[in-house]
């Protein structure tokens, strides 16, 4: 996907923007384990970094029972963004998942392998396991010029 017009691109030595297909988005989501959760509050949008795992067709993460996120997550669609950039080469990709998050019930929790449970970096109790299905998934990559 580019929005170049011909005259501008003659002058332009910058990278090319590509729209990624669903398979590639899913592969990239599985290549890392930290992303950013976006949700809306009455005071405007929020973003928080989150450790996650990709379990089946859902982004899975953990939060505390009484955190701000836990109160805002289930009433409206939320967004989850994962990216990786190289500032020197000015290249990188980003993937965005948007959908309705759901808490995992006890039965589904028991079905998770140990390796599939997200492991947040900071200490603290985060007993709420949340899944965000890959309902709407879009991605872009900037290629080097």
């Amino acid at each position: 996907m580019t929005t170049d017009n011909a005259a501008w691109s003659l002058l332009d030595r910058r990278g090319r923007l590509e729209t990624l297909d669903r398979d590639e988005c899913r592969r990239l989501l599985g290549s890392t384990n930290v992303g950013r959760l976006g949700y809306c509050t009455d005071l405007g949008p929020r973003i928080v970094p989150m450790n996650y795992t990709l379990v089946g067709e859902a982004v899975t993460f953990r939060t505390g029972i009484d955190t701000e996120a836990s109160h805002q997550l289930f009433d409206h669609p939320v967004a989850f963004e994962v990216d990786q950039f190289d500032e020197f080469l000015q290249t990188g990709w980003s993937v965005l998942v948007v959908g309705n998050a759901q808490p995992l019930d006890e039965e589904s929790l028991l079905l998770l392998d140990i390796g599939q449970t997200p492991q947040p970096w900071p200490a603290g109790r985060r007993v709420l396991v949340v899944q965000l299905p890959l309902t709407t998934m879009t991605g872009r990559r900037v290629h080097p010029s």
Binding site: R14, R16, G38, C40, D83, D86, G92, S94
Partner: protein, 150 residues
Amino acid sequence: MISPYTTGRRDSDDRSERRFEAISREQCFDLLATNHLGRVAWQAADLPQILPVTYAMYQGSVYFRTTPDGILSELAQPTRVALEVDDLDQQTRSGWSIVLQGRTSAVSEPDALAHLWAADSLVPWAGGNRTLFICIRPDRVSGRVVRRSA
């Protein structure tokens, strides 16, 4: 920085305890000024959006460039947004993140535009006709660091 084409990064096996610590407002602005890559989140129609942008700080506000017909051009209308900037290291399971909440506007003042066209860090990585400058005026800034407990 790890190449964006590398996959399968692994966590460190070091599971010693890590904690959150707050970053002062002054430090937040220092980090915002020395970094140029962030993510803008906003509520677009019914769905939340998060997109990466390259930005620059100027006179205490955040500025970035976009195409007049792209999705980010919605932010030319005054909109509540959050900008997140971070440096997270999977190897050491540590890092920091800063979130700035504010309101957007399109930049039209000639002085600001003259300065912004010349700002190196505002040259977007992707090509295209990125002639629209958006300002985020901050209402609230907060940051935190995750690191191994001393």
